[in-house]
Structures are given as C-alpha cells and as structure tokens.
Amino acid sequence: MQDLTFRVQRYLPGKDSKPYMQEFTVPMRQGLTVLDGLIYIKENLDNTLSFRSSCRMGICGSCGMLINNFPMLACHTPVEELNTDTITVKSLPNFPIIRDLVADLDPLFEKHRSIDPYIVMAETGDLNKLTAQFLQSGEELQSYLQFAYCVKCGLCMAACPTVSTDEFFLGPQPLCQGYRYCTDRRDTGAKQRFEKADSGHGVWLCHLAGACSEACPKGVDPALAIQLLKRAMVFDSLRLRKKPEPATPAQPIAESKPKIEVPEFTVKQ
C-alpha cells in the first residue's frame, strides 16, 4: 500500500513565534486512523510531537483537530475516509494553541458552565432526596437524548463562523447543552437559562450557519437544538410557551412474580 504524507502543525511556545508545518511519511495499512498515524510519528519519527488522545474510540472527545481543513476527531477518522494520501493536520481553530496540535479548550468549558448545564428543580427543592425514579416516556427521552450525545470535543466551536470572530459568543456546544436541560422534564430551570442565553453574545448571534452540526462527530445536531431554544425563547417572551409539567415520580408497583431463589446463608449470622 502507498505511503501517506502527513503535514502536521508544529508550535513550541517559547521557541517558535508562530506555527509552521512539518512533513512526515507514514506507511499506510488497512484501517489506519489519523490518530494512529500521529502515534506512529511520535513513536518512530519525532518524539517531540504533542497531541491529545485517550479513548481511541471516538467517545472521550480528546482528539479534535483540523484535518484537511475540516474539524474532526483524529481517532474517529480512518484515512480511507479522506480519499487522499496527503493529510494536513492542524490544531482546532478558534481555540488558542498550547503546543503543536494541543488546543486550549478552557474557554469552551467556562461557557458551558455559564449556562447552568444541570438539572434545576425549583419545586421539589432538594434534588438529593431520593424518593423515587421519575417516569419518562419514550417521546420525552427523545426530546433531549440526541443532544446528550455531546462529547464536549469543541469541533462545533471550531466550525462556527460567529465563534471565529466573537470570543464572547456562547457558541453551539453550550447553547445546545442549555437547551438539552431546558427540554428535560425533570428540570424546571428553563427560565434562568433563557435569561443567560439572552445576552448580546447569546443565542441570537447564531445565524444558522449549520457548520456546527456538519462538524459534530456524534450526530448531536447543535444547530437544531439552538433553533429550538430560540423558538422556546420567542414563545416564552410572547407568553405563548406552555408551562411544562413537572416530572412524575414512579409509584411502587405490586409484586408480579415470585422472588428468585437465593441459596440459604451457610455462615451463621
């Protein structure tokens, strides 16, 4: 099989004033992912190359990079999918570069935190009183499940044109997570999140470029979540939004089957 050319962004703080590209030749094998290629480079060609990786199965979200001018997870991208043998790898745009391919995602995490991404229960107050599980219909589950797929990789933030200029724009990931919790019936904190999304750098700076959903490796579709959030906010401010019913706790049910037998204790209690 043919060899691959990896063009990799290098940048060492303190030494380089700006990033530059370096070329490596990596032998191709079936199923090789871009991450495998980078690991090959690190272990065999240049030990100083830095990049993030952990799960190598596309679920932890560490390895977001700009691969052939599109943000992708390196471990989740078999080279075969790229249809080329020259692979350009850069760190995620719109995030500061720490070193080589390692981008600083802290701004994303802080924005995510700022939208209150957790269940707020106003009525019942204490979340920690463990009374019973809540009932949830399939439809209710589906209304947010897709958005809960988010691995917080930041690819959507690298893709969004508004993020590319506006450092304060909340951005697709945080807004999507804001909506994910608003639409969960266990939550009653929609109002407070609406207020937060309503700032001059909030939800209204999304102009449906759709690049976030295009880039998202997990099918989260943040663009959809943001538009649904806008709709909820518009309806809410016109007082047309139906007040969602609070979640119903499950009632205990009567015994329907006999206990499965457990061997007697053989040690005296």
């Binding site: 724009f169 309503d198 001059g200 909030g202 700076l205």
Partner: protein, 108 residues
C-alpha cells in the same frame, strides 16, 4: 428578555419589508418610466396613503437594517460595550429618520 424582543421585532419587520419593499421596488424599478417622473413622485408624496406607506417602510427598514448592523458589529468587535453601541445606533437611526421625514414634508 430584551435581546429576544429585539430579535422578534427584526423578524416581524423582515416579513413586513418583504411586502413593503417588494411593492416599492416593483413600482419604482420595474414599472414604467413615469413613476420616477417628478409629477408622479410629487403626487405620491402628497397622497396621505402613500405617505403612511413610506413612513412605515422607512421605520421598518431602518429598524431591521440597523438591528442587523448591530448584530454584525457585536460579532466583529465583541469587546465594544453594548450600551454605547446601542446608544450610537439609536442616534444614527433617529437622525436618518428625521432627515428622511423632513424631505417630503418640506418639499411639497
């Protein structure tokens, strides 16, 4: 929710502009040559129906455009203070509106 209300207005004005500007463009650019002649222009300015039409068009167009401009400025220059930006844009908007209103009123 201030931003949401402003945006709702932009949507409403957008939809309204669809008809207003549409009509205006069809009349003045696609129609016959006469519409831009002095007499017909003056006629329409004197007709209070048309006057209201133009004032609404003006208001909506200005609001819609300036709110759009505001969005773009907020994005391109995120460090700008929202308050002073809003203030400046409102002043500019009012100035243009006043000027535009003054023309038909004083010309005829």
């Amino acid at each position: 929710m201030r931003e949401t209300k402003l945006k709702i207005l932009q949507y409403i004005t957008g939809i309204a502009l669809f008809f207003f500007v549409g009509t205006h463009l069809i009349i003045s650019h696609l129609g016959s040559e006469e519409v831009t002649e002095w007499t017909s222009v003056a006629d329409r300015a004197a007709n209070s129906g048309w006057l209201v039409f133009y004032i609404i068009l003006l208001l909506f167009g200005l609001y819609h455009g300036i709110h759009g401009l505001r969005t773009i400025i907020l994005e391109a220059l995120p460090r700008l203070s929202v308050k002073s930006l809003d203030f400046t844009l409102v002043i500019i908007g009012l100035a243009i509106f006043g000027y535009a209103l003054y023309i038909p009123v004083s010309a005829f």
